[in-house]
């Protein structure tokens, strides 16, 4: 465990990556224009990034790729609920309910 001053140094270094990445092109201003083709390609970044964070969590169970796990099942429920109803809380409630039911109820 990192403690004391070094912990705050770690936070400061992490903060630098936050402003450094988010500000990279915004702070450069006019000097940092990207070619239009690259800008068009970058429209795909958010979808690719969010999915790259979600899918490993759903598909990898105990270090192995396996769709037969409670998180994947809960993920399918979240997908179905979010596509079917507009209520913003429902995916959270039903997704967590399925995960907890499988983990606790069925001991998976």
């Amino acid at each position: 465990m990192i403690e004391g001053v070094w912990l705050w140094v770690a936070f400061a270094l992490m903060a630098m990556t936050t402003v450094g990445t988010r500000g990279s092109f915004i702070l450069l201003g006019e000097k940092g224009r990207l070619p239009p083709a690259l800008q068009r390609a970058l429209r795909y970044a958010p979808a690719a990034a969010l999915s790259a964070l979600v899918m490993p969590d759903l598909l990898i169970d105990g270090g192995e790729v396996s769709p037969l796990n409670p998180k994947f099942a809960a993920g399918l429920v979240v997908l179905a609920v979010a596509l079917r109803w507009r209520n913003p809380w429902l995916p959270f409630i039903l997704g967590m309910a399925v995960l907890l039911a499988m983990r606790k109820g069925l001991g998976w």
């Binding site: 465990m1 990192i2 070094w6 912990l7 770690a10 936070f11 270094l13 992490m14 903060a15 990556t17 936050t18 402003v19 450094g20 990445t21 988010r22 500000g23 990279s24 092109f25 915004i26 702070l27 450069l28 201003g29 006019e30 940092g32 224009r33 990207l34 690259l38 800008q39 068009r40 390609a41 970058l42 429209r43 795909y44 970044a45 958010p46 979808a47 690719a48 990034a49 969010l50 999915s51 790259a52 964070l53 979600v54 899918m55 490993p56 969590d57 598909l59 990898i60 790729v65 998180k71 993920g75 979240v78 979010a82 596509l83 913003p88 809380w89 959270f92 967590m96 907890l100 983990r103």
Partner: protein, 234 residues
């Protein structure tokens, strides 16, 4: 007559509000997670104010708990924040006539949700006052919701049972955000390739698999758009 800034601010908030709901559990989970590895309330609040990047914070926590070297913690935070370089490049034209102070504030405040919801409208808008309102209002709102709900998690951490798998709410929040984006086929291709790429490349060191997956997804989406257009022409 309402000013352009206020019209922009109101429209930005209205567009962003549905997304911000997903932020609540995510922020609370992050607050609980920081306390659960042994950070004090003050350290957790400080990390949240300074870093202000949920994914990087969550990703760095295991390394902090394990006493990993500082450069590794920084590199991991950098890898998890790298997608913002891409967002920053895409949204930069919006700020080309803004002051340095505004650009600095906009940089610290740039988050996935506001970018995803607003980038198209921002790039099309002509009025700089409207643009500033449309960007800064939901961004500031996001900051307040994030800091407030994380504080709830930090101070409420003791009262939530440990075995509730609350960290899965993070994944649910990310799923709810990606769904409205993948309405077109190239976007769907980008998401599928990005996700599966990150799964298959998870063995890369320093969690670079996520970054590699994102790059693959972008390339695949762009290629799919290209083929779709060519198919229409012939």
């Amino acid at each position: 007559m309402e000013s352009a800034f206020r019209r922009g601010a109101r429209e930005g908030l209205r567009d962003f509000l549905p997304i911000s709901v997903g932020l609540v559990p995510w922020a609370m989970v992050t607050g609980i997670a920081m306390r659960s590895i042994g950070l004090t309330e003050l350290e957790s609040l400080g990390m949240n104010l300074l870093v202000y990047a949920g994914t990087a914070q969550l990703g760095a926590l295991p390394l902090i708990a394990a006493g990993a070297p500082l450069w590794l913690i920084m590199l991991t935070a950098l890898a998890l924040n790298l997608r913002f370089v891409i967002f920053s490049a895409a949204i930069a034209p919006v700020f080309h006539d803004s002051s340095f102070a505004r650009r600095l504030a906009s940089s610290y405040l740039l988050v996935d949700g506001v970018f995803a919801v607003g980038v198209d409208k921002l790039l099309k808008a002509e009025d700089p006052h409207w643009r500033w309102g449309y960007y800064i209002a939901p961004s500031a709102f996001n900051w307040c919701v994030w800091q407030g709900c994380t504080a709830l998690g930090i101070f409420g951490a003791e009262f939530v049972p440990r075995d509730w798998s609350l960290e899965f709410m993070v994944t649910i929040a990310l799923m709810v955000m990606v769904l409205p984006m993948v309405r077109t086929r190239p976007m769907l291709v980008a998401a599928l390739v990005g996700g599966l790429g990150a799964v298959l490349l998870r063995g890369l060191p320093l969690r670079l698999g996520v970054v590699a997956g994102i790059a693959l997804g972008i390339a695949a989406g762009f290629a799919a758009e290209h083929w779709q257009q060519r198919g229409r022409r012939s």
